[in-house]
């Protein structure tokens, strides 16, 4: 495990992390295209080393910073794009349920038992297409 970068300061760079990542990106591009000559002690010879960055692991907030996609609001989840999120009339939070719940709230006078059964049905529903 390599420590790659330490950004000092009282606050996190937030969206501007891409400015700080420039030296790392430059070096990774160089390692992939122009490579680096390395000595292998096991084979006692030089070889050309390349490096590929395969994935990034971060929490959801840092994911927003690195990908440049907003992780807040109705379009927070990139996998849920086809099923639009909605907000309740008296609430400010985006909810990622499907159409059934929206209709459940819109139907005035829905009985409590019906709502409970609808929610139970919701729990059995499949995840978005990308996760199947």
């Amino acid at each position: 495990m390599f420590l790659s970068m330490v950004i000092l300061g009282p606050s996190s760079p937030g969206w501007n992390i891409n400015v700080c990542l420039r030296p790392l990106i430059d070096e990774l591009t160089q390692l992939w295209s122009s490579r680096a000559l390395t000595y292998d002690i096991l084979r006692k010879q030089n070889f050309v080393l390349r490096a590929a960055l395969m994935w990034t692991i971060n929490n959801f907030l840092a994911y927003g910073m690195v990908s440049g996609w907003s992780t807040h609001g109705k379009l927070a989840c990139p996998y849920f794009m086809e099923n639009k999120a909605f907000m309740l009339t008296n609430g400010g939070k985006a909810s990622f349920f499907t159409v059934i719940v929206v209709s459940c709230h819109r139907i005035t006078g829905t009985k409590r038992t019906e709502r409970i059964s609808l929610l139970a049905e919701l729990k059995r529903m499949l995840p978005p297409v990308s996760f199947r």
């Binding site: 420590l3 970068m5 000092l8 700080c20 030296p23 390395t38 000595y39 002690i41 080393l49 390349r50």
Partner: protein, 153 residues
């Protein structure tokens, strides 16, 4: 191996040449004073000064904010210089995996796809595969770690 003081620890690490670069950065995170912009003293976007106001005591200019960057190329090369670590670099290629059991990312689909790509493009030289971990905390600095997951021949 714990050294008695910080100076001794730094002296021990010096021959390995695994140091770090200090790059000045605009305190509003607009730009790096890096490569062709290394001589600038003001930010090109927001106009913030690069250095703190000079005091009578110190003569060298002190930057407002610095980025510490640890280059990865010498660190990767270092792993091949030691006979202990070089064995582990090819482990994922030589170990035998049981079908249907995932014990390492090298058994995963993404890794296999990359291996196929490397073979297709005749790039079957040593390729290091890296993973990136971000440690984010809103109240302090920001850490970025790279994990070396393996290497394919």
């Amino acid at each position: 191996m714990l050294k008695e003081n910080f100076y001794a620890a730094k002296s021990m690490m010096k021959p390995f040449s695994l140091g770090y670069q200090k790059i000045d950065i605009c305190p509003n995170f607009c730009m790096l004073y890096y490569l062709k912009n290394v001589e600038l003293t003001e930010c090109m976007t927001c106009g913030h000064s690069r250095y703190k106001p000079r005091t009578d005591r110190g003569k060298t200019p002190v930057a407002y904010k610095k980025l510490k960057y640890f280059p990865i190329t010498p660190r990767l090369q270092r792993l091949f210089m030691s006979s202990r670590t070089v064995e582990h670099m090819t482990w994922h290629q030589s170990h035998h995996a049981v079908d249907g059991v995932m014990v390492h990312p090298s058994n995963g689909e993404a890794w296999k796809h990359l291996t196929v790509c490397i073979l297709t493009f005749q790039l079957n030289q040593g390729t290091c595969i890296l993973g990136c971990v971000q440690m984010d905390s809103t109240h302090s600095g920001h850490l970025l770690l790279l994990i070396l997951v393996g290497r394919s021949y």
